[in-house]
């Protein structure tokens, strides 16, 4: 029988490996439910963008990482993308949810793709591109996934800044840039305008 590592051991392993490249210290949350109080835990690891792919590779040293989804949020000046995994899946009671995340500044919104390491991330990476306006370098399929071409390029529903969808809430037909009806956007359904993802200048209101 193989040895299963606990959440704390996984967090410690990331802490040692990526010392100096961590955005915040990896932390573990452990919960106990039910009558028998069986423990299960989740680990949050936030790594700087440069070492993000390494962190994803490091996760592979634990048995059977199962990728579920990437979530993301607008933190104000930065955009955070979190990839949620489970290690020791199919282990009957030893699974640990590991979330590895990275951040990128809004004036340089791109992060590396994990699709070479985990082939199943492509749909969720496509979703992050169109919903957060963050470019994924090396994505396997650059088209939009969920948003139809009725949503203008340059509007990202999860952004809480001027690229957010607030102006679309009532008037879908108005292009935020002014003219046009905004419904026919770009032929290849790319989530970004020709120049790449929108860049927020520091201090500017755009």
């Amino acid at each position: 029988m193989m040895k299963y590592k606990s959440g704390d051991e996984i967090a410690a392993s990331f802490r040692n490996r990526f010392k100096g490249h961590l955005i915040e210290d990896p932390y573990v949350k452990t919960f106990r439910n039910g009558v028998k109080k069986t423990a299960y835990s989740q680990v949050f690891v936030r790594v700087k963008r440069e070492r993000f792919q390494d962190a994803a590779r490091h996760l592979k040293t634990f048995d059977g990482p199962h990728h579920t989804v990437a979530s993301g949020s607008d933190l104000g000046d930065e955009i955070e993308v979190l990839f949620h995994f489970e290690v020791y899946s199919a282990s009957h009671g030893h699974g640990v949810v590991v979330t590895i995340g990275t951040r990128c500044p809004k004036d340089d919104p791109h992060i590396p793709s994990l699709s070479d390491i985990y082939p199943s991330v492509t749909p969720t990476e496509r979703e992050k591109q169109e919903f957060l306006g963050v470019a994924i370098d090396g994505i396997k399929d650059n088209r939009r996934l969920f948003l139809t071409h009725a949503v203008p390029v340059g509007v990202y529903p999860w952004r809480k800044d001027e690229f957010g969808p607030e102006k679309l809430v009532r008037q879908v037909h108005k292009d935020p840039s002014g003219g046009g009806d905004g419904t026919r956007v770009i032929a290849d359904h790319s989530p970004f305008p020709p120049g790449g993802p929108p860049v927020k200048r520091k201090g500017g209101d755009a």
């Binding site: 299960y40 949020s73 009957h92 139809t148």
Partner: protein, 410 residues
């Protein structure tokens, strides 16, 4: 007609094989599929965006409406995610009642799926049979939760209603009815020659692909991978059940795990009756105590949730597979700061596309149905397009419908 084969064949956005709008683009050569592409997004409702404008108690009932079939699963997982973020501990009895509703929902969802799969195969009688049988479990859910579809049963810290003695008796009676029809259902699905002909070696997802593409739910168990979040990540009452119950795979039912549609039928029908046994186990072993750790809703909302700061991930084995929510709460902010839903169908897209390889057109509906797709869960924004002259404005549609109603009333 003009094109020489291979020619494109679009299934969707509206097609009898699809119960919800989505689009498949196939390149076919005679009866054979050469290439497949998939375009979701026809039913996107922006649930996550809506959620970021509401407080957790409101979102609880929005999360429920992400999907009609696995609504309890979405409430359950959202509850857990907020509890993880806000450090609320559910009560023991609450955990058990939650698991009961989740398992009952699995029974109803798998019966529903079995019917839909039968319909896709042209076997409508199975649809009528399973849906007739499904009414019973819907009745239990109605007794327990109040309504048949959106249960509104979960709350942070536990559940909203307790189960009474007579309700337990009613549940047991209905569950024993399910035990009685078990053999009939198994033989209808596992030994019908036409069903076997249509599902064996169709839409194969190999073990290797299931692991590599991170498939989830009955799909992956059909391929022989024992992934089941109820047991892998033993949350709630499932931690107590780990010794008594095992993951259902075709092997445990006495079949080979080939990963084809037939294996998935085996897994789902097997799980259905496993869930019946699980519910009975939960009813037998239910601990006493309060059903929720914070019965006062206003205190829960204004104190605990408003003051909470943190993030949480929760996963639940919905009937269709793994359901995961990520929630981040900020202090002194009523609204949820960040929310991400991932539904089983989303996780299975990549596996789905490999399943169409070298299959026939006739296999398309059952392969689509085999992962139990829930496009409505996966897509989450609706866009009302207006302004363009070629398209009908919603106001015009609204006026037209009012006019029609008036005409009918005459």
């Amino acid at each position: 007609m003009a094109e020489a084969p291979p020619y494109p064949l679009n299934i969707g956005p509206i097609h009898p094989a699809l119960k919800e709008p989505t689009q498949f683009k196939f390149v076919i050569d005679g009866e054979h599929i050469r290439e497949t592409d998939f375009q979701p997004g026809f039913n996107h409702r922006g649930v996550e965006y809506l959620g970021m404008k509401r407080n957790p108690l409101q979102v609880l009932h929005l999360a429920e409406r992400v999907c009609g079939i696995c609504s309890a699963a979405h409430q359950y997982v959202f509850c857990r995610a907020v509890e993880h973020a806000a450090d609320i501990v559910p009560t023991e009895r609450g955990d058990y009642l939650r698991a009961i509703v989740a398992e009952l929902e699995r029974i109803h969802s798998h019966l529903l799926w079995a019917g839909v799969a039968g319909h896709e195969l042209g076997f409508d009688s199975i649809l009528h049979y399973t849906w007739k049988v499904r009414e019973d479990v819907q009745d239990i859910l109605e007794i327990l939760c109040g309504n048949r579809v959106n249960y509104a049963y979960y709350i942070f810290g536990g559940v909203r209603r307790d189960i009474s003695k007579e309700d337990i008796a009613k549940c047991r009676k209905i569950l024993s009815n399910y035990r009685k029809i078990e053999d009939t259902v198994l033989s209808i699905f596992f030994s019908d020659p036409t069903i076997i002909h249509r599902t064996k070696d169709v839409g194969v997802l190999t073990h290797e692909n299931a692991v590599k593409l991170c498939a989830c739910g009955p799909l992956t168990r059909g391929a022989g991978v024992k992934k089941d979040i109820r047991f892998d990540w033993p949350h709630g009452a499932y931690g107590d059940m780990m010794d008594d119950f095992k993951v259902v795979t075709p092997e445990t039912m006495g079949y080979h795990a080939t990963g084809d549609v037939f294996s998935q039928i085996v897994v789902r029908i097997g799980e259905l009756f496993e869930s019946v046994r699980m519910t009975e186990w939960l009813l037998d072993n239910m601990p006493s105590g309060p059903i929720t750790s914070e019965p006062n809703l206003s205190a829960l909302l204004m104190a605990k949730l408003r003051m909470a700061e943190g993030e949480g991930v929760a996963r639940v084995e919905a009937p269709r597979g793994e359901d995961i929510h990520y929630v981040r709460l900020k202090k002194n902010k009523m609204e949820i700061d960040s929310w991400k839903i991932r539904v089983p169908t989303y996780g299975n897209i990549m596996s789905w596309l490999t399943m169409f390889k070298d299959q026939q057109i006739a296999d398309i509906p059952i392969i689509i149905a085999s992962i139990d797709p829930c496009i409505g869960c996966m897509d989450r924004v609706t866009l009302v397009r207006d302004g363009s002259q070629a398209e009908v404005d919603w106001k015009v549609l609204h006026d037209m419908s009012i006019e029609k109603s008036r005409r009918l009333m005459r």
